[in-house]
Symmetry: C2
Subunit: 144 residues, 2 copies
């Protein structure tokens, strides 16, 4: 892991300030992190977007198998939110039995590109993180 210089920390702080025009401003009517990002950065949404990035088109039950562990109910809910926010498209073929296909939109692909940088970083360092976690039965807190 590359160490971060003081200069870079300052640059990051400036970017945060710019991003949160409303930093420290309690009265903000809405917050992009809470109101937008939170709906696409939970674990199920991330997995759905990643799998649709890998398999360009997936049906409901295919997605359910790929994103193992997700329930019908939550998959259905997450897909609705991701569709409503424009990350993916839903196409219905009124055959019997019914067929429904999910696919990332251009917007969803654009999101995936950014998301992937983060998931790659986390995957790369997940061993380190798990090692940290193990150790910290004993608290890492410093006392002065």
């Amino acid at each position: 892991m590359e160490t971060i210089t003081e200069n870079e920390k300052v640059r990051v702080a400036k970017k945060i300030k710019k991003m949160f025009g409303h930093i420290d401003q309690r009265t903000a009517e809405y917050c992009p992190i809470r109101d937008v990002m939170a709906l696409a950065s939970d674990k199920w949404s991330i997995l759905i977007v990643l799998y649709l990035g890998y398999y360009p088109i997936l049906r409901f039950n295919e997605l359910k198998k790929k994103v193992y562990g997700i329930s019908n109910k939550v998959l259905s809910e997450k897909l609705k939110f991701l569709e409503a926010d424009g990350y993916l498209s839903r196409t219905l073929y009124p055959e019997v039995p019914i067929r429904v296909e999910y696919e990332l939109t251009d917007f969803g692909h654009s999101y995936l590109q950014k998301l992937l940088d983060l998931t790659e970083w986390v995957t790369q360092y997940s061993d380190i993180i798990l090692a940290n976690r193990k150790k910290s039965g004993k608290s890492t807190t410093k006392v002065f």
Copy 2:
């Protein structure tokens, strides 16, 4: 928003495949997205990390004010997880009343850099997303 070419989509799919060595492999003993990233990409953890990127050192109650809306209980829990996983450090000054300071570690700063790219993207496009969301009272589903 930059449109994504087919070539780029293929490149992204390859990166996903590489990242998930175990893609399509149900028996994976652990999943970095579920077991590691999920604990640092929820809305409260993101906000904690961002605020600690902006204000390098914050005490418990200062964080509580910055990350408005969070409860004592959840703030305390999230801080413990973020400390255990190595993103931040906790320093205790046994004064009266007690003083506790939280600060990003180098590892946390490294995470923040990647996270920031994503939050900037989301912030930049959050108006578009909210506009999408409004419209989609009428479903966007296509029928064939």
